[in-house]
């Protein structure tokens, strides 16, 4: 569904992505894991067309995304730090997004998170008055709102309280069962254990491996994802 081929991106002298190739198929739940600054967010932003790669290309459903924009209709994106127009209320932001996506009516919209996060009572609050966690809730709600085929979640549970985090995880599992492609980055590996099927590990702008979770478990002999990744990370450090 999403194919990245030899994508490279440089910010000034810093390499953010170095010849990254990956293939993600419908029904998978892929975890993007790697140390800070390893290029995870840049890869995600490249997929969304927010960052234009220096070389290589990305296709979505077989079409190059470079001059396309309609493919984003099929993506729900939850950014790492949700940035919204400061003097709009939550209600205005949501209705603006509905307006832009031209989707209305309950059959096209999924407002489940709006209720379960309790955002209903906060609809008239301005974005600038919201706490970081509440912003994350708004971001999550917007990502799921339009029933997209692909969900891209950049550190979804960072900043959320345990209750909200569980609600979100439940929602992700539910959507996964509907056969959607889900891409998650997170540093809280224990959150990912029961969500993901595939692991992409990145380090120093390079994609180190792309394996299914069961393969990774078999290779490292660890049951828990956090332990498995830790053993990979220490091995690579040891090699250096």
């Amino acid at each position: 569904m999403i194919i990245a081929s030899n994508v490279s991106k440089q910010f000034g002298k810093i390499k953010a992505l170095d010849n990254v190739s990956a293939t993600c198929v419908r029904g998978e739940c892929v975890a993007l894991i790697g140390p800070n600054g390893s290029g995870k967010t840049t890869l995600i932003k490249s997929i969304l067309g927010m960052v234009v790669p220096n070389s290589g290309f990305i296709t979505f459903n077989g079409k190059n995304i470079l001059h396309d924009w309609l493919y984003r209709e099929h993506i729900g994106y939850m950014p790492q730090t949700g940035k919204y127009p400061e003097n709009m209320t939550i209600r205005q932001v949501i209705s603006m997004m509905k307006d832009i996506r031209q989707k209305t009516g309950p059959e096209n919209l999924d407002e489940e998170l709006l209720e379960s996060f309790g955002l209903n009572k906060l609809l008239d609050k301005r974005m600038r008055t919201l706490s970081g966690g509440t912003r994350q809730k708004v971001s999550a709600t917007l990502a799921f709102l339009f029933k997209p085929d692909v969900l891209i979640l950049d550190e979804p549970t960072a900043g959320l309280d345990p209750v909200a985090s569980e609600i979100l995880k439940g929602k992700i599992i539910k959507e996964k069962q509907k056969g959607k492609l889900i891409l998650i980055t997170s540093h809280i590996l224990s959150d990912l254990d029961d969500l993901i099927t595939q692991v992409i590990y990145m380090q120093d702008a390079q994609l180190i491996f792309h394996k299914s979770l069961s393969d990774l478990r078999a290779d490292t002999g660890e049951e828990k994802l956090s332990k498995a990744i830790a053993s990979v990370m220490s091995k690579s450090c040891y090699n250096e």
Binding site: F11, K45, L48, G49, M50, V51, V52, W69, L70, Y71, R72, E73, I75, Y77, P79, K83, Y84, P85, E86, N87, M96, M97, D99, I100, R101
Partner: protein, 255 residues
């Protein structure tokens, strides 16, 4: 496209600065016309307002607005919208709302006190200058990532167009005073939209005789209808070229 323009427009109109700007223009125009019975004198005083304050407010407000809507732009870019569309909508929203202030703040008093061709030319020039400086501001904002730097560049650009350029033109004129510089001056005036606007308005005011020999040259070049239309086309290219450049840059920008 209309949707994004709608949100930009409502956001700007909710911003009290544009409303304040409209009232400020209205207040000045009304007081200028009421100071003297002769409406031509009023127009002349208004000319300086149009040539100094309108570009300044347009360029500074637009630059700050673009930087402040960085979040809004980032949000829109991740949505199924063409980048061209987002940028053009921002431009149209800014240019549209600032032009509306001009029409309300300068256009209405001129219509009441001096509904002449000169007055109309002045309103058209004020609107054109607004649009030109919005597009220059957007170019400055897309080229520099840092907000303070971007605003500084905008102020410098305004300073260049409204003061430094004239100094430069005079300097060149004095250096080459032994040569016939009239044609060159006409071409040079096309390099500065503010100068072009000033010349076009002054020519309509029939006081170009006061400008001496170069006034006669300008009269020859821009006084005719074709000259006027060519000058207008130059002004329009002052809108299109910066917009096109900023659009190209924005399409490749990483957010």
């Amino acid at each position: 496209m209309n949707k994004v323009i709608k949100y930009v427009m409502t956001d700007i109109l909710r911003n009290k600065i544009v409303i304040g700007y409209t009232f400020f223009l209205l207040l000045i125009s009304l007081s200028v016309f009421n100071l003297d019975d002769n409406s031509t004198k009023g127009l002349l005083s208004l000319l300086n307002l149009v040539l100094i304050i309108v570009p300044l407010v347009s360029i500074i407000f637009s630059t700050i607005y673009i930087y402040n809507s960085a979040e809004f732009i980032e949000l829109l870019v991740s949505q199924p919208l063409k980048r061209n569309k987002i940028w053009i909508s921002l431009f149209a929203g800014l240019a549209g709302s600032l032009s509306m202030s001009i029409i309300a703040g300068i256009g209405i008093p001129i219509l009441i006190y001096s509904p002449t061709i000169t007055g109309m030319v002045m309103v058209v020039m004020a609107v054109l200058l607004t649009i030109i400086f919005v597009s220059i501001a957007m170019l400055a904002a897309v080229l520099t990532r840092d907000k303070a730097k971007g605003i500084g560049v905008s102020i410098l650009l305004w300073l260049y167009f409204s003061l430094l350029f004239d100094g430069l033109a005079l300097f060149i004129l004095f250096q080459f005073q032994d040569y016939p510089m009239e044609k060159a001056m006409v071409v040079m005036s096309g390099l500065n939209p503010i100068d072009l606007g000033r010349i076009l308005i002054l020519l309509k005011m029939d006081i170009s005789a006061l400008m001496g020999y170069s006034g006669a040259i300008f009269r020859d070049s821009f006084g005719s209808n074709t000259g006027f239309i060519i000058a207008l086309l130059i002004m329009i290219s002052w809108v299109l070229v910066p917009t096109w450049l900023s659009l190209r840059k924005f399409n490749r920008k990483d957010l």
